[in-house]
């Protein structure tokens, strides 16, 4: 396979890789015109900033699959976040460098001992029902509502936070038990959406009828939801940020088939294809259409990291040499260039190169079947069948399973792919019923939140597909992650994270395959679409249509 493959890899890299490497606002073009258009796009970018946003207009966006509900405090599914990010807001936003920016908090202050966070709120903010937004809502949201129902905020608030209190109507103070560097990264809208106290306090949150008519502070309000067809949002005329939003209405269209979504874009039915909504192969084709822009920005906060989890409880998979053999056997370049159409980047370890605290100083694994064979032989593998659990998220993942199966069979490892639907996958992954399992996890802006959870032994628990399901356990790793989370300075944190990355890359508790890119495809006359580190999930506050 190797000799033929490399041709293709070169071919693919030329076609799409260039698009990747150079600023992502590149318009539809062929490889040769990249440099020219790059210069042009810089020019265009400069132009955009100076251009006065136009008011009004309608944008049609694809959301897939249909969100179960839009009450973002209770549900943080991908599609929910995309739509609800227009309705709800949080204290902070994060730019593409993941630096905190004001949102409902106008400013914030961290005490010198890094234990007190004081947030000053924007003035004149109103909920969609006209009631004022105050510090009471913030305290209710963070201290009561989210503590009760939010799986990401709950562990943080329980472990790190001493108290959350109102100082005055527009000031909130959070006191920590100890310094916790990632705290400033926790206020993204899906992680901590502000919930109206006057509607939810004292009620059964999950049974509250208001869940169907979400009330937030965001730039758009829910007008109509025709199940199976579309979600209709209209401009919030009383939005606190004067002059925003620019758009009048957004329709989120629900089109279940990927190929049909691509045709819907081409025939003009929709203007924006959000990340992951079209087949990777269609990305190349669609971005060459006239008036079409493509960007892979807007995923910096999540930085999805894809890997295979070996179940280290299962016989030979507990053997480090065997896992290293697998890593050498898998042609990850092929996965990136052919299966994923050149999108993404090969990871070196547990922390994405797109986020803070990444270190490339680790043992690396290039594609080397001969070495793989040696290691696998040395590990004492006797030909037992390895069950590879496919991730049922569409054709691309299936192709990836097939390619990896072929890679492993080439070095003499017997593999059987297991297929299920999504609930079946969740069940099997959560209950450790696999030998090798595909997964991709968000990094969530800080290793303490998005990375440690997959490797620390305290997170070995059934029932959650995003826990440490492989069962890897190493006291040294546990300690390094624990210390790094609460080390007072970034420099000290970096040292600890560098150590843990080196250690894990040798031990291979999981086989890292790809730092994924989810391209957003849109008509170029939709401006300021992706402006933050969570992209479309931060809503269409600043977007406008030419």
């Amino acid at each position: 396979m190797a000799p033929v493959r490399s041709d293709e890899a070169r071919f693919k890299r030329y076609d799409l890789g260039t698009r990747q490497g150079n600023g992502q606002m590149v318009r539809g073009m062929t490889g040769l015109r990249v440099s020219l258009a790059l210069a042009a796009s810089v020019f265009v970018l400069g132009g955009v900033a100076a251009q006065e946003p136009k008011k009004g207009g309608t944008v049609h966006v694809v959301v897939q699959p249909e969100p179960p509900m839009l009450m973002q405090g209770l549900n943080q599914n991908g599609p929910t976040n995309m739509v609800a990010g227009n309705i709800y807001e949080s204290l902070l936003r994060y730019n593409e460098k993941l630096e905190p920016q004001p949102s409902l908090a106008k400013s914030w202050e961290i005490s010198p001992d890094a234990k007190t966070y004081t947030f000053k709120l924007q003035e004149g903010v109103k909920w969609h029902d006209g009631k004022p937004f105050t510090a009471d809502d913030v305290v209710f949201t963070l201290d009561k509502f989210l503590r009760d129902v939010h799986p990401r905020w709950r562990p943080i608030v329980n472990a790190q936070v001493e108290k959350i209190e109102k100082v005055d109507d527009l000031t909130v103070k959070i006191t920590l038990k100890q310094p916790f560097g990632p705290m400033i990264m926790t206020q993204e809208v899906a992680s901590a959406p502000m919930i109206p106290k006057h509607i939810y306090d004292g009620t059964d949150y999950r049974a509250n009828p208001a869940n169907n008519t979400p009330i937030g502070t965001g730039p758009f309000k829910l007008k109509e939801w025709k199940k199976g067809s579309y979600i209709y949002l209209v401009k919030n005329e009383d939005y606190w940020l004067k002059g925003k939003p620019n758009l009048d209405e957004i329709y989120w269209q629900i089109i279940p088939d990927a190929a049909a979504r691509a045709v819907a874009y081409e025939t003009g039915k929709v203007d924006v294809l959000t990340g992951g909504s079209v087949d990777v192969y269609d990305v190349a084709r669609l971005s060459k259409l006239p008036n079409t822009c493509m960007t892979t920005k807007g995923w910096e906060m999540f930085a999805p990291h894809a890997w295979l989890t070996p179940n280290v409880r299962n016989g030979i998979l507990g053997n480090k040499q065997f896992r290293q053999g697998l890593m050498y056997a898998i042609d990850r370049e092929f996965g990136k260039d052919v299966v994923w159409g050149g999108l993404g980047k090969l990871p070196t370890g547990p922390i994405s190169s797109k986020t803070k605290f990444y270190s490339g100083d680790v043992p690396k694994y290039a594609y080397d079947p001969a070495k793989a064979k040696e290691l696998i032989k040395a590990s004492g593998y006797k030909g037992e069948t390895i069950k590879l659990l496919n991730l049922p998220y569409g054709e691309t993942w299936s192709r990836w399973s097939e390619a990896i199966k072929q890679n492993l069979e080439d070095v003499g490892v017997k593999v059987q792919i297991e297929n299920t639907d999504v609930p079946g996958w969740t069940q099997k992954a959560s209950n450790w019923d696999f030998d090798l399992n595909f997964n991709f996890l968000y990094q969530l802006g800080d290793p303490a939140m998005g990375v440690a959870r997959s490797y620390i032994s305290s997170n070995i628990a059934k029932g959650n597909p995003f826990a440490n399901v492989g069962g890897y356990s190493n006291p040294e790793v546990d300690k390094l992650f624990a210390d790094a989370a609460i080390a007072p300075t970034d420099k000290e944190r970096q040292e600890l994270y560098t150590k843990v990355q080196k250690l894990l890359a040798d031990e291979l508790p999981v086989l890292w395959l790809l730092e994924m890119d989810f391209p957003t495809i849109y008509r170029c006359n939709v401006k300021n679409l992706v402006t933050t580190g969570i992209g479309v999930d931060d809503g269409f506050r600043d977007a406008w249509k030419e």
Binding site: M69, R154, K226, A259, A260, V263, G463
Partner: protein, 325 residues
């Protein structure tokens, strides 16, 4: 036995079947791996034991299994199809919201295919062996033998993308706010591709069934007798052959009508048609038990009704059959 007795008897039995099916569905679905709480948690990309517990309690999954079954059946006895926690809506309203779209789609496909298919089959049989027969048979086969989703995608590419004649997906133009006739026309345009795609398949079935059945009957003794008596060819075909040949077609039509509700899953998926078939499939892959069971129940009830109707038609078409109540 008179018609009223026949109907009453069938209805009572229908209800019993439905009840048994409701139980079977419940057991079947529970045998599938995963549950709605796990799915929701899985989709969110984050979960802990407490969240799962909260969700399970909300779905009623923390109750003993038999209690859950009892609550479900008790609800159905009072025409309460339950509540979808996932969608925060009563199941019945979810179904009623989606049912019209499906009935429109499958109704259109059904009528077109029944009329066109039967006519094609009859024509082919009448001209058996001639070129028009071969043409019809080949066409019917082509419709039948091509995977439905392939035709669906191809038709979108050709008629929507390349020719720009009709919209490729959806039920109506979103955001256009048409009313009255303009809206009907708009929906009609959206209906063209999905209903034809779905109809093609059934047209082929009817055509083939009708042709085979007519040829079969044409050789029967009573037809021979009629010919011998000097009844005109046209009359023989119309009165003796076609009338008797329609029996298997009626069987098929009864079946198809019953499957109207659940039979359009693929078509609805590829054409983003907001119908009940998709509601069912989504519920299935989300293990949204109450919705899934509700859709199954509604479609089962429709099958029961259409079965009764089929037997009625049998009685009319072939009086020799005594329908057994």
């Amino acid at each position: 036995m008179n018609l009223a007795q026949f109907l009453a008897g069938r209805l009572v039995k229908g209800v019993i079947v439905l009840f048994a099916i409701a139980v079977l569905n419940f057991l079947l679905i529970r045998a599938a791996p995963g549950d709605p709480a796990q799915v929701l948690a899985g989709e969110a990309g984050a979960a802990d034991a407490q969240l799962l517990e909260q969700l399970r309690a909300r779905f009623g999954l923390d109750q003993p299994f038999l209690t859950q079954l009892w609550i479900y059946l008790k609800g159905y006895l009072t025409f309460d199809l339950g509540f979808s926690y996932r969608q925060q809506q009563p199941v019945l309203s979810l179904i009623m919201e989606r049912l019209p779209a499906t009935l429109l789609l499958t109704g259109a496909a059904f009528l077109v295919s029944l009329v066109v298919g039967t006519a094609m089959g009859a024509l082919a049989a009448r001209r058996a062996g001639k070129w028009s027969d071969s043409l019809i048979t080949t066409l019917a086969l082509a419709f039948y033998a091509t995977p439905l989703f392939w035709i669906a995608l191809m038709s979108q590419i050709v008629f929507a993308l390349k020719l720009g004649l009709v919209p490729n997906v959806g039920y109506e133009t979103i955001g256009a706010n048409y009313t009255g006739l303009a809206r009907a026309l708009d929906i009609g345009q959206h209906l063209v591709l999905p209903s034809l795609t779905l109809g093609l398949f059934f047209t082929a079935l009817y055509a083939r069934m009708m042709r085979a059945s007519m040829l079969e009957v044409a050789g029967a003794d009573f037809v021979k007798t009629a010919r011998a008596k000097g009844v005109s060819q046209a009359r023989v075909w119309r009165r003796h052959v076609a009338r008797n040949a329609i029996l298997p077609v009626v069987t098929l039509a009864g079946l198809q009508a019953g499957q109207l509700v659940g039979g359009a899953v693929l078509t609805e998926t590829v054409f983003a048609w907001p119908g009940i078939g998709r509601l069912m499939f989504d519920a299935l892959v989300q293990r949204d038990y109450s919705v899934l069971l509700g859709v199954f129940f509604v479609s089962s009830a429709m099958v029961v009704c259409f079965n009764i109707a089929t037997d009625l038609v049998y009685r009319i078409v072939d009086p020799r059959i005594e329908a057994h109540a």
